[in-house]
């Protein structure tokens, strides 16, 4: 546990984290969905409650720390609650996140003592599961097997990329309120719904990388 605390203290250090690996998009196909279709098929835009068992790798400060996690994701209410454990089943923290707030239900003492621990993890979870939503008036660009929706404003740009199957593959935000990229890969069906089973979030401003592998998923 001391190792956890020491690791998290490194979040404020300047070492870089590894880059997001290149994504592989389906080829020999054209991405031609309408904006309405892209919005409707976006897995984060479904009125569903997911229960996801996942493995998580947190990287920062040149170090990495693996966690076992269970996530309840309520896409209808915009609420995500993550319980993270070590390999013995010991609960390290229980964190609930909404689009605008977070609440640390419990954490081992060593984590509670780390400044901004809950805020940092909450922000990462928000980028992945409760990000800005694409809108019907976004700018649509078709590039053969990739489509991109863009929101451009004075204080930030947000780009959403989709493959030719209509799956959301990346969200890239750059602006005053952040500089991060989320890559959604390896879509699989659980309970007749497609969700990504490998997700990588790279926060370039916080120098933090969070990788998730969804092992099991089901609707509530």
């Amino acid at each position: 546990m001391v190792r956890i605390g020491a690791f998290l203290l490194l979040l404020s250090l300047t070492a870089c984290v590894s880059a997001t690996p290149p994504q592989h998009f389906p080829k020999n196909c054209l991405a031609q969905a309408s904006i309405v279709q892209l919005l409707e098929e976006n897995w984060l835009n479904q009125a569903q409650v997911w229960r996801l068992r996942q493995a998580t790798l947190l990287e920062a400060g040149g170090k990495s720390f693996p966690l076992e996690g269970f996530l309840r994701l309520d896409l209808l209410q915009g609420d995500a609650r993550l319980v993270a454990m070590n390999e013995t089943g010991l609960v390290l923290f229980d964190l609930q996140v909404t689009r605008s707030d977070y609440h640390l239900h419990r954490a081992i003492p060593q984590l509670r003592e780390v400044d901004h621990f809950a805020k940092g993890v909450a922000q990462s979870l928000r980028h992945i599961f409760l990000p800005p939503q694409p809108q019907e008036d976004d700018l649509l660009e078709n590039r053969e097997n990739i489509q991109q929706l863009s929101q451009i404003s004075n204080h930030r740009n947000v780009d959403f990329s989709y493959d030719c199957q209509g799956d959301l593959r990346t969200i890239r935000l750059k602006g005053e309120d952040g500089n991060w990229l989320v890559a959604y890969d390896e879509y699989r069906s659980f309970d007749n719904s497609r969700i990504p089973t490998q997700i990588i979030m790279n926060d370039y401003r916080q120098r933090l990388k969070l990788s998730l592998w969804v092992r099991e998923g089901k609707h509530e």
Partner: protein, 212 residues
């Protein structure tokens, strides 16, 4: 402090077949003597295990499985195989831990790493039947004698803040532990069941090496 070091150390300790003691319950003494005798005969232990984590807030049970190996006096292996391959080996004062996700392998020394030092302390205390050490940490009650089931209540306030009690169940012949359950104050429970315990069997040469 025991809680902080993780459940593994507790489980490893109890798997050593050493009996806890309750100073307030003299009827335990013959039973403890029997369990201590069995522990003294143990040179090696190995078993697959199944770990069930019940998360009360989600009413969800999470299953994992792994392998445990111990060799007298101070060698051990705790390895989780699914869903995330990870674990550690200890060889005296030194050990190594690994994790498939991070693909990192890390050496440690119990003299430099306070967490692993605490684990080693517990393991050695039980291997040596250090009853003073155990009595100082838990109030122990005998729940049933056939099979032997013990409840251990932490004396430390910090530990008791998280752990309600530990339940330890021995095999019918009282030669080893078959299940350990940790009941937390939050309502969560972790149960580890040892499924095929082998006592004093020959161990592979790789038993205390990091997997390739």
């Amino acid at each position: 402090m025991l809680y902080k070091t993780g459940l593994s150390s507790l489980l490893l300790f109890f798997f050593l077949c050493v009996a806890p003691v309750c100073a307030d319950n003299l009827s335990l003494e013959p039973l403890l003597t029997e369990l201590k005798h069995a522990a003294a005969q143990t040179e090696t232990l190995s078993s697959p295990f199944v770990q069930e984590k019940y998360l009360d807030i989600f009413a969800e049970k999470l299953l994992s499985d792994g392998v445990f190996i111990y060799q007298k006096p101070d060698f051990l292996r705790w390895e989780l195989l699914t869903p995330m391959a990870s674990g550690f080996v200890l060889r005296g004062d030194d050990g190594e831990r690994w994790n498939h996700l991070s693909q990192e392998q890390e050496s440690f020394s119990v003299t430099d790493d306070p967490v692993m030092g605490m684990i080693a302390q517990q393991l050695l205390a039980w291997a040596r039947v250090d009853l003073d050490w155990l009595e100082g940490r838990y109030r122990i009650e005998l729940q049933t004698a056939d099979p032997v089931v013990l409840h251990l209540y932490p004396r430390d306030e910090g530990e008791a803040e998280f752990i309600k009690y530990l339940q330890i169940q021995f095999s019918a012949d009282r030669s080893h532990v078959v299940a350990v359950q940790m009941v937390e104050q939050s309502g969560d429970q972790t149960t580890i069941t040892f499924t095929e315990v082998k006592i004093n069997s020959a161990l592979p040469s790789s038993a205390f090496q990091v997997p390739k």
